[in-house]
Amino acid sequence: MHKRAISLENMSETTGLIAEDEPLLAQALQAELGRAWPGLRIVASVGDGASAVAQALALRPDVLFFDIRMPGQSGLEAAAALADEWPQDAPFPALVFVTAYDQYAVQAFETQAVDYLLKPVQAARLQKTVAKVQEALARRAQDGNHFEATLDQLRHLLGAAGAAPSGAGAALPLKVIQASVGSSIRMVPVGEVLYFEAADKYVRVLTAGHEYLIRTPLKELLPQLDAQSFWQVHRGTVVRADGIESVLRDEAGKLSLVLRGRTERLPVSRLYAHLFKAM
């Protein structure tokens, strides 16, 4: 008993954030957490992915509880966006995903970096999660690999979530992009495309000399592209690998790409930085 009291004492500074779009469930989770982890202070409770990212960046909590299905941005997407924008000097928070149903293959969560909770959240299961998070936070103080492991797992989860709907329909790779230009349709060979960039409701298709707009979302386009030649380097950017001229690293450690025949620099998300390592 004595030992436990001390460990809770040490944890008393811990802060948390809840992102859950159903108000009753957010309240319930907060109440359950109050019982299971008295030392945790919930600094914000938000109802959508974008607010979750903004609030997490502003308040820098130690633990995040993200519902997976939220309006605007899903919990997974929000976590990926957060990983991108998280400042290099601060330790990345411990992540716990909350979901009503294991459509994201719950076994994908069965590793150390990220935990998950199934709704309805039950006290005994929550207690386990709390212990796991406390352990992760204690480890995080000494060991820098936590962030890498989280990135690795997020990448895995996002891949799993993206690959599911296409399933058996994984057709042959796309050969031409059909982009409407005025009243005509321009056939752009995929081999000429340097990169795709998501822009609001459109996807920009950029070749060495031209730019086209298509309506197919990047999420649907990606499974149709040959994964060997087109790499996702950011949430909203897919680049043709052999069109990359060089990879630059700035003082803060962020990577950006320079493409053959184009002047702009494309930022590389931390989630995909592992693609660019010297051989």
């Binding site: 009753l24 109802g47 709704k119």
Partner: protein, 347 residues
């Protein structure tokens, strides 16, 4: 191509049995002719004909599904098989009979009368046995098709049930209930009551039955109440049913998939939420039911998911009202979606 040798052997045995029967009958009518050569001829002709037709039909690409080549190919194969079987079988049998001395001294005689009879018998027997195989084959094929169709229907029913009892909806609702029990038992009870009627209606809903429009609206209210508890201030709804239409008979839970679409693809993806309006009105001799929302519009519809609800309603309208039923779906980017269903009023 995979050949089922057991069934081919079964066919061969049937052919032989048939050939021997015919030989026995012929012998009974013409006891003066020697029996042994007739058996040799008949077995050889039938074996070769069987081999050409039964093994040959698998080589036709058009036989892949039914087991028999379609069109001229089928007739050609049968005719070719019978002619070739007759010629080759007769020739080999001649050699065998001479070699083993089945005939009395002197060369085998094919007198013109005999020749005509054996050609006729071969042709008739060939056609009869081919027809026999063809019809059993066709029977089996139709049976297979029927099983497939039944399976298809079952799958569709299962899919319908799965979308209606979507696990995400179910577990989130239960999670809300669990939360309410601790904080507001009265509201929890009300929510449970709505859930019970929603589940009962969903599980009972068999296609092709009807209930009153008032009952239809009550079921929609159950579902919307559940969703209102879950979404809190993000969902507002209006149900507008004129009193004189309340007793109209409508197909059970016809509007349910449309309201679900509005929630799932219209309001749930929208951060600030919005409202749903379900209304009924009379237009001439037609009843018009309308589900509209202020959700995100077409962009909330995933390329694959949205279709099922709409397709299901369209299919039901078509079976029930043929061309007199209509469904119309209009979605405006950022300004929500509106689905109208119309079919004849019952007077």
């Amino acid at each position: 191509m995979r050949i089922d040798w057991i069934s081919k052997l079964r066919h061969a045995l049937q052919v032989w049995a048939f050939a021997l029967t015919i030989t026995a009958i012929l012998y009974a009518f013409q006891p003066e002719r020697p029996y042994a050569p007739q058996v040799v001829y008949s077995l050889l002709i039938s074996t070769i004909t069987w081999a050409i037709i039964d093994l040959g039909r698998d080589w036709f690409p058009s036989a892949a599904e039914t087991g028999w080549p379609q069109g001229l190919g089928g007739f050609g194969l049968v005719a070719g098989g019978i002619v070739a079987g007759y010629l080759a079988g007769t020739w080999i049998a001649d050699q065998l009979c001479v070699y083993y001395g089945f005939y009395p001294p002197g060369a085998p005689k094919h007198d013109p009368n005999q020749l005509r009879t054996s050609i006729l018998v071969t042709a008739l027997a060939g056609i009869v046995i081919v027809y026999y195989f063809y019809s059993t084959n066709k029977g089996a094929y139709l049976q297979r098709k029927m099983v497939e169709a039944r399976q298809h229907a079952n799958e569709a029913r299962l899919k319908l049930l799965e979308t209606q009892l979507e696990p995400h909806m179910l577990f989130n609702t239960l999670a809300n209930l669990r939360a309410l029990i601790g904080t507001d038992a009265v509201r929890a009870q009300q929510m449970l009551d709505h859930m019970i009627s929603y589940l009962r209606a969903t599980l009972n809903a068999s296609r092709g039955t009807t209930h009153t429009l008032a009952a239809e609206f009550d079921r929609l209210r159950d579902y919307l109440e559940l969703m209102a508890v879950r979404m809190g201030p993000r969902l507002a709804y209006t149900l507008d049913l004129p009193a004189d239409l309340a007793a109209q008979q409508v197909p059970t839970l016809l509007l349910q998939p449309l309201v679900e679409n509005s929630i799932q693809h219209g309001l749930e993806p929208k951060v600030e939420g919005g409202s749903i309006t379900v209304s009924a009105r009379r237009e001439g001799t037609q009843l018009v039911l309308q589900v509209s929302d202020t959700g995100v519009g077409p962009s909330g519809a995933p390329a694959s998911g949205k279709g099922f609800g709409l397709a299901q309603v369209r299919e039901r309208l078509q079976t029930l009202y043929d061309t007199e039923g209509a469904i119309e779906f209009i979605a405006t980017e950022g300004r929500g979606a509106c689905t109208s269903v119309r079919f004849p009023l019952k007077t």
